[in-house]
């Protein structure tokens, strides 16, 4: 098995909503999109706040912040900026680029709903992926011809960088500065793009807003877990029945995605800032539940390693990749992530790494962005859930299984 590629066609478990009409391949061009989802509609800010609260819509980027709270905090007016964060800079995640590529109009519909509700015409869609960029640009052309709208929607292709997906780093990048997070914590809703109040959210969040407006509250909540109704996109990787991007009703047991017989080794939930867990029984694809269980879904990556490969080698490879992704602005992050990567490399060769626990603790809360914290979560949980593997490596200097490269390390353009 080699590194996983983005599958040509995403899959839906149950009824496809975001992926309606595209689970057999292809792209929903404007006419098909309108047939599937109906005409573009709008809501006032007040109604949108109340409807997103009723359906408990959470941001689909990483932080899972309630959309209604974010919307309610927004000022309105022509200077407000709406930013669609489609940067998805984690290589294991493909759901946003896939969504923007196969259903670009859903994302644009959602962005226009938010822009109209906030009384602005300024919309920026930031992407890292060339195919998503091309599809969105084509979608905007289709609209110019068939369905002109007053909003000015700009699609921007941004540089590839892990931390650049962080919204404040993204805003810096859009303003032409280095795409790194600023040292002071500011909220985009106060001072965002070009200093203007900015509503920024992940690409899937905007598509979910479009679905909500098209289906109505009752239709939207017709499937899924009552604590986070509807569907969610996930990227499932590794030794699983259906790898790739999937749309599932929330509340689906993770084991249904991993392996129905329930036998499996450590599973990664939440991607490269996520956590490894040895036993997934009882876990369901619902953000509030997973957060309570200590394995936040983050951007929706779930991976299961094949039994024939060396799990520790996968962790070591991602650890050094994470160290290389430190933007190098903050000392504890730069030095700490590199030291931790070296510790994992030592453990892989069966050597001791006595300082690793202290080093992991030294990453928490000590950077301008969540990269050191996320790295500590990834490595710390891997070591905690792979005790058997660690023992074998310590005793024999290795496990004899090959490094398969199941967890992709670049793939940003794949």
């Amino acid at each position: 098995m080699t590194a996983l590629q983005a599958p040509a066609t995403p899959t839906a478990y149950g009824s496809a909503r975001l992926l309606a009409g595209v689970t057999h391949g292809g792209r929903a061009e404007l006419a098909l999109h309108r047939t599937l989802h109906g005409p573009q509609q709008h809501r006032t800010q007040g109604v949108l706040v109340s409807e997103t609260a009723t359906v408990r819509l959470l941001g689909r980027g990483g932080a899972a912040f309630p959309v209604s709270t974010k919307l309610a905090a927004m000022r309105t007016g022509s200077s407000v900026e709406v930013v669609v964060n489609g940067s998805e800079s984690e290589p294991a995640s493909h759901k946003d680029r896939t969504l923007m590529t196969v259903a670009p109009h859903l994302v644009i519909d959602g962005a226009l709903v938010v822009a109209r509700a906030l009384g602005t015409r300024r919309v920026t869609i930031a992407v890292h992926d060339a195919a998503a960029h091309a599809s969105l640009a084509q979608a905007l052309q289709e609209r110019r011809r068939l369905e002109p709208h007053p909003e000015r929607v700009v699609v921007r292709l941004q540089q590839d960088r892990f931390v650049a997906g962080e919204v404040r780093a993204l805003l810096n990048g859009l303003e032409g500065r280095a795409a790194v997070p600023p040292g002071r914590r500011t909220l985009p809703s106060d001072r965002g793009l070009h200093g203007a109040p900015t509503f920024a959210s992940n690409a899937e969040t905007f598509a979910q807003i479009a679905l909500l407006v098209s289906l109505g509250v009752r239709g939207f909540t017709g499937v899924g877990d009552p604590r986070e109704p509807g569907t969610t996109l996930l990227t499932v990787a590794g030794d699983v029945p259906v790898p790739g991007v999937v749309e599932v009703p929330t509340g689906l047991p993770l084991d249904a995605l991993l392996r129905p017989d329930g036998v499996h080794g450590p599973v990664l939930v939440g991607g490269y800032h996520g956590r490894w867990i040895a036993d997934t029984s009882g876990l369901r694809a619902t953000r509030p539940l997973l957060r309570e269980a200590g394995v936040p879904l983050n951007a929706g990556v779930i991976a299961r390693l094949p039994e024939g490969g060396c799990a520790l080698a996968e962790v070591a490879a991602v650890s050094s990749w994470l160290a290389a992704q430190s933007a190098g602005q903050c000392g504890p992050c730069l030095f700490g992530t590199h030291a931790v990567a070296q510790d994992v490399a030592a453990l892989l060769r069966g050597r001791p790494a006595p300082d690793v626990t202290a080093r992991l603790r030294g990453l928490v809360g000590r950077g301008a962005c969540a990269h050191p914290d996320g790295t500590a979560a990834f490595v710390g949980s891997a070591l905690a859930s792979m005790t058997e593997e660690l023992l074998v490596h310590a005793e024999r200097g290795g496990c004899g299984r090959p490094y398969l490269g199941v967890l992709p390390l670049d793939g940003l353009h794949s």
Binding site: V180, G183, C330, G331, P332, F335, G362, G365, R366, G367
Partner: protein, 64 residues
């Protein structure tokens, strides 16, 4: 008030750990370790001095 480090500025000279030991320790690289962010009134003078002395202008006091 609360003491905050701008990690993008801090050079790890460790001055702050000497001037505000009530809140700040130091790791092996000289970078600050904040064991407590809250600065009580009694040590506010130490905190202000640390903020003013930090050569990288990386420390600030924020309202809680």
């Amino acid at each position: 008030m609360r003491i905050e480090v701008d990690w993008t500025r801090c050079d790890g000279h460790g001055m702050c750990a000497l001037l505000l030991p009530e809140n700040i320790g130091s790791d092996a690289g000289g970078y600050p370790v904040l064991h407590d962010r809250t600065v009580p009134r009694e040590t506010m003078r130490h905190a202000r001095r640390a903020v003013a002395t930090c050569p990288a202008l990386a420390l600030r006091l924020e309202r809680e």
